[in-house]
Amino acid sequence: MPLTRRDFLKISSAAVGATALASGLTSKIWGLDGDPVANPGTDGDTVVPTLCELCFWKCGVLAHVKHGHVTKIVGNPAHPLSLGHLCPRGTGGVGLLYDPDRLKKPLIRRGPRGSQHFEEVSWDEALDFTAKKLLEIKEKHGPEAVALFSHGFGGSFFKHLLNAYGSDNVGAPSYAQCRGGREVGFQLTFGAPVGSPETIDLENSRVITLIGSHLGENMHNTQVQEFATAISRGAQLVVVDPRFSTAAGKAKYWLPIKPGTDIALLLAWMHVIVQEKLYDRDYLEQYATGLEELTAYLLDKTPEWAAVETGIAPELIVETGRFIAGARPASLIHPGRHTAWYGDDAQRARAMAMLNALVGSYGRRGGFYLPTKLGVPKYPGVPAYAHKPKPAPDKPKGVAYPFADETLAHGLRDASFPGTAAYDIKGWIVYGTNLMQALPEPRKTIAAMEHLDFILAIDVLPAEITGYADVVFPEATYLERWDDVAVTPYKEPYIAIRQPVVAPMFDSKPGSWIAKELAKRMNLAEFFPWEDAGAMVKKRLEAGGFDVAKLKKVGVHVAPHKPVFIEEGLEPAFPTPSKKIELWSKQLADAGLDPLPKYTPPEEPPAGQFRLLMGRTPTHTFGRTTNNRFLSEVFSENELWLNAAIAQERGLQNGERVWLVNQDGAKSGPVRLKATQRIRTDCVFLVHGYGHKSNGLRFAKGRGADDAALMTRVRIDPLMGGTGMNVNFVQIEKVTA
């Protein structure tokens, strides 16, 4: 059929001449008929630079404020971590600030622990009560019996408070449940952890190898920016992931590896590179030890051997191994971040570190830089901590994780079961971490809390953990408070500040204020000599000779570039015992552990069950943003990714709701099924942070499935105590009406 619109246009065009005049005239005559470009009017009367806290990356943002209302949040072009651009979550601060479910007043528990039954009280009452409880514990059990779980920038004031109080037991799930394995693997190899932001020069890489790191879903702003820059400059990707991740969709090679077998692949790649002498010989000669031991060890780690384990064809292993080596030294094997997968994670990270060493990327452009940072003097006149605390009881009695270099959060939890660790933990302060979703084995967390004398939670939202606390303090959000000066080791030396954009809403208070008030009530006032955090920051900056007014206006101060690459004349230091890159690890051998990474085949899921994998979605940070209505507009609940062929085999429909039941009978869901080509047949995938149970999270409650509830077992990393969580198996049950 002909396009009738075209015909109509032709016919009607004849009428145009005659009518254009008339219609033009009518518009004129009737007046007011311009077509002004409408302005939505969301620009602020003031624009305040500050630091984002929708995740822990601390990008510089500009908050627009109009009539006292934050209208929008955009990137701060002056800030090195955002360069004017933001990840989706960064735009969502408005949704947090105006979340109707925010904690509004101090709460004291009235029902049984966990009943979520609280009474709103005055700050004085809540602070007095808290101080009394903490002093009681100190008196009865000593100060070390109080542990602080803290994640997030504002936690520094509570760490200071706890240290002053006499305990050094500070743990965050961002270590043993997250980066820990990687940090130890790299520390053992290069003598330094990778840190956050990761010290990688993604933007200049020519070949980027991702072992699970799902950049693009993992949305750490600067990394994703550099990732895209690299791609636009022609970098090629090798993505190893059981799931066709966003990054896999951009890769030259996607290797849908059998979960838990990465060490075999990494060893086989090294086998190829070492056998074919594709490594950077000069670099290794100059900086590394242990190549001979490694060469010998790799002899039988052939691509054919690895193929059987990983499900990746041997030719492909050879081809990709050569490809990775071919781009050296600008060939980056991304160190990963969330590495708490299988319990051999530090060794896997070590294998990744060693591969980086073979291609000579560490210290090189397109590989790893050696960070620089600025110094800011401490606040003058703060007394030294009087008490030298006992070491943390974060390991079971008689157990040592020799290379753990941070406190294990789950270890502090476990020490709350009387008599199981060096000494008992009796009180928790929980700042900015939702232990119920962040720690595996949530039932164990609940059981541990039964033994406690006191729990204080400081949060912005009624996260699950606050439901178990005795006292809950409503903290002002990052847009309503000062925090300490941010000093970040990075490619460029810089400092940045977080300053309030609007006044705290409701009866919420900055953490710095809360910590100081508690200190006053515990005779520790001398440790908080400043008026408030703003005054503290000002004084520190002035003492360092920084232009405070300018910092407040710009939000950040960037110092001149210093060399961070060997190519820039930097002489790299490897602070290992040998002062070299340790391919073969004497430290590990001395501790009775494998000096070279050993591959152990993972346990197979029983018939009818699938290995549960988890990860991120770009628009959310764990469970902390799932109640954020603004961000949830584009992603309101997680889905269970299941291979489409399997779904069909099982008679499961895309979009239908299913329950997940794990090997120990733990159940989660109901959750929508995503039947997809994008995942292997032996595993399923969930975005972490859903299935909230807190009544206060009115939007998020009951949406999707909580992966943490299914993490009823973990495999502990013998090097550093990390909790490998990808070792749980689930079966899928249909939801019957």
Binding site: T4, S13, T19, A20, S27, W30
Partner: protein
């Protein structure tokens, strides 16, 4: 590698747009139906007079132009109800947009009133007109003019009526974004259907035998033409490219197939066709059922094409 995506995920979820378009509902259905009906009524009333070369004798026909204007007002009422910003309705008459069928329609609607009124004044008996308060004298003078220039008035009415009838089809037919509406048949189809419903409406009234016989013949012709046009439309879909086939799918084995075939084709066309044939051949006494079915069919045609067409966007194509 496959050309078609096996999985598509979109974040767009705009109300009434996603997952499928449904911006126009019963209001526009009625509007289109009434528009077609009024077009049919005006054209047929004028045509009867032209054919018989005498002013209508039955009261029904004398009053019909005014009834039509009443129905048209109801149609404009439903259009108004559909507007999301009702206070801005006057904006239709601050501009004439020659590329916009909707704009043509708005202005045509305005033309129908004087035409219909002129026709009515020339049809109604003088006694009736005299009873019009105040305007009686003016009405009489216009009536006189209308009678003196009768053929001009009649042909104008037919022209305006045809414009109205075609417009209701063109409104959809020019919205080529809805691939199912993207058919040149739609304009003639809606006009013919308008004529048929107009005839049916008239047949429900009290007419004389000659008028009745003429209308029956015309309706039969209209129904036949309509069937041909529908066949042409479906053939076009079936033999066209991927997009045409997709457009036709709704009517040929899709969600609207059952309703379309049962309500429009069988109830609205085939059954009345048979019954009207019987009536003509065997001189069966007329039952009100036949015209009622035609009206139902005409309404269903618009309702179904309106709904199915909205659903048939390019989003369905790879």
């Amino acid at each position: 590698m496959h050309r078609l995506p096996v999985e598509t995920v979109t974040t767009r979820l705009n109300h009434a747009i996603d997952p499928s378009l449904h911006i126009w509902g019963w209001e526009i259905t009625l509007y289109l139906f009434l528009g077609g009906l009024v077009a049919g009524l005006l054209i047929l009333t004028a045509a009867l007079e032209l054919t018989r070369r005498q002013r209508p004798t039955s009261a029904a026909l004398q009053w019909m132009p005014l009834v039509a204007l009443g129905l048209l007002s109801a149609g404009m009422g439903t259009l108004f109800l559909d507007l999301e910003f009702k206070l801005h309705v006057y904006r239709f008459y601050l501009a004439f947009r020659p590329h916009s069928p909707m704009s043509w329609g708005a202005w045509i609607l305005l033309l129908v009133y004087p035409a219909g009124l002129l026709l009515a004044l020339g049809s109604l008996p003088e006694t009736t007109l005299r009873r019009v308060p105040l305007l009686g004298r003016l009405a009489l003078r216009i009536a006189a003019w209308s009678q003196q220039n009768r053929s001009l008035v009649l042909w104008t009415t037919i022209a305006v009526g045809a414009g109205l009838g075609v417009y209701t089809g063109l409104l959809l037919g020019t919205l080529t974004a809805r691939i199912q509406w993207n058919s040149a048949v739609l304009g003639p189809l809606f006009l013919t259907s308008g004529l048929s419903t107009g005839a049916a409406f008239l047949l429900l009234c009290k007419l004389d035998a000659v008028e009745r016989a003429l209308l029956l013949r015309w309706d039969l012709a209209a129904i036949l033409v309509e069937l041909l046009l529908i066949a042409a439309m479906l053939l076009g879909f079936a033999s066209g490219g991927a997009s045409a086939q997709l457009a036709g799918a709704a009517l040929l084995g899709g969600p609207w197939t059952a309703a379309f075939w049962s309500l429009v084709v069988v109830t609205g066309l085939l059954v009345p066709l048979a019954m009207e044939l019987l009536e003509l051949r065997r001189h069966l006494p007329l039952v009100a059922l036949t015209p009622a079915l035609v009206l139902v069919g005409g309404l269903a045609l618009r309702a179904i094409l309106l709904a199915a067409g909205q659903d048939s966007g390019y989003r369905l194509l790879p």
